[in-house]
Amino acid sequence: MKQIFRIASILALGALAVTATNGMANAKDKVTVGYIGPITGKVSAHGIAGRNSADLAINLRNQDPNSKYEYELVALDDECKPNIGIQVATKMATDKHVSGAVTHFCSAVATGAVRIYHQFHLPVVVWGAISPSVTYGNDYKEIHRTIGTLTSQNKVAVDFLTGLGYKKYVVIYDTTDYGKGHLEAFANDLLATDGELLEAYGVAADQQDFTAELTKAKSLNPEVIYFAGLSDLGIRVRNQMEKLGIEAQFAGVSGIISDTFIDGTTASEGSLAMRQGAPVEVMPGGPEFIKKYADADYKDPAEAYGVYAYAAMNVLLDAVEEAGPDRQAITKALNTMPAKEYSIGMVEFDDHGQNVNSLVTPLVVQDGAWVTWDESEYASGKRTLKGK
């Protein structure tokens, strides 16, 4: 027995010595960063993919000789349940070793948890939850988000439409949070351009008749009628525009993209809409991420949103590299971070910590199908939009 104890002691001392030597050789401090996602439960596939991708970002960073710190991951499971989310967020935020975290796939969990991070000054980058309220529902400086929100497509819509030369807009929006959120974002983004919002009409989400609103809109002579709502309403608005002889171009938010819109409208040809997101394969750093994830040999696939967790973790690590492991310094670094390209594309936070560059693809209806704008005959000049 004594013999075994002696051997064990020698081995332990040896291990310590090796670690110490390594430490001296690298001279790197350890920084602990966190990950929270639904690792178990119904959407665990995404949670596991997110954790693996965050882990991949850390491993790659640790292999990088230029990185200033050695990173360690603490992963917690929110089960996609708001109550559990609050518990694990509190656990992570009160752990003083954790410098920052990449958190949440589920919007309901993220919305509740952001208050905790703010309370304990833990800087976080939300990787998967897309409800606008996570970033726009508060003024917490600690909260950032790399993935786009439901409404971030409007910036792309504004850039796209003004890029086509349209200047005068009327918005018809449904008065739910969905429609209102889009209207606010669209109106706000339009301010930065030479486009002009002539009027916005709120309509009930089950309204049938839009002739009164459209007649008023017609009197303003807009170039574009921008519709913020779902396809059922979009169909009615489009049909009734035709009925009233309104010659403006019709453009809608992602909510109208469906076959129902095409089947239900008498004049869908040439209608524009913004599709949220893009497949990982076409993201700027997508193929590289796919290769590295495959090389790391994780048991589970990266799923559609793994790349977002990977990017979010890289954003956080870059902030730590710049500011050190202090929470408030990291928050400041994130808030002042210049625009930079990551695997999901450009990341640039607005004053709510929201990445303003989300991947959005403009689509157009061509011959009874939604076609990517760049591949359409409208883009090539073979066909023309209204007023062009």
Partner: protein, 306 residues
Amino acid sequence: MDIGFIGQHLVNGLMQGMIYSLVAVGFTLFFGVLDVIKFSHGDVLMVGVFAGLTAFFGLDALGIENPYILVIAIILFSTALMALLGIVIAKILILPLKGAPPLNILLITLMLGTLLRESVRLFYPNGSNSKAFPAILPTDSFTWGNFSLRLDSVMLFVAGAAVIVGTYTLINRTRLGLAIRAVAQDEETARTMGINFGFIVLFTFALGSAIAAFAGVMNGFYYNEINFSMGLLLGAVGFSAAIIGGLGNLYGAILGGFLFAGLQTLAAAALPFSSSYKDVFAFAVVIALMAWRPTGLIAEKAYARV
């Protein structure tokens, strides 16, 4: 606002008013004859328009392309089928409950409405999505400045007016109409005078339901879009229109329909608040009118019923 836009709002309001009036006429017929409020009326309208769409697909598959034949066939099929549905509803649900408290009929037709609505949603192919209603009427339009009037709208309006005039003539100028009025006035006396009460009730329900189907098809041709829940709001508006006009009074239903559409258009076009409040405004005025004239704008006289 220039005259063209005022004219445009007027036309929009008239078209809506015609549809509302047709729905309200049904409510008023049922109430006049049997003192019942049939809450499934809006959903019968919706089933009617889906039946019309099915007829269109059938004829289209047979290769019939003449738009006039198609339109007439859609209207005939839809109205005939809904007349039949009206008879079935009256026979199975309304007549057996004649002696029961009015609340029972109200509830049972409310539930029937849900049943019809959900059935279309679940069993009609892809029923939960909006459907395009065929745009087969001529779309030539007359444009004068900012005013644009399409030929199909004019045709629909004239057809709607013809249905209302026809119903009025039927009720006031025919023996059958006399029998309906007799039943409306006093069921017992009408029976002793040899009027077939059961037949009159079934006929009235067939007529009201057929008019609803017509209103539905008109709605379909006007908006070129139909959906399983379209009967809900149309039913509520039609019922309110019948109430403000004076339930049981044909003129009242027509007046109520146009008044309601006028209020909605006024709210959306001329009042300073957001157009999303137009239903709030129209229903608020209806509430105020009901407080002022509880029996409707055209006060009911026993002999004027139906």
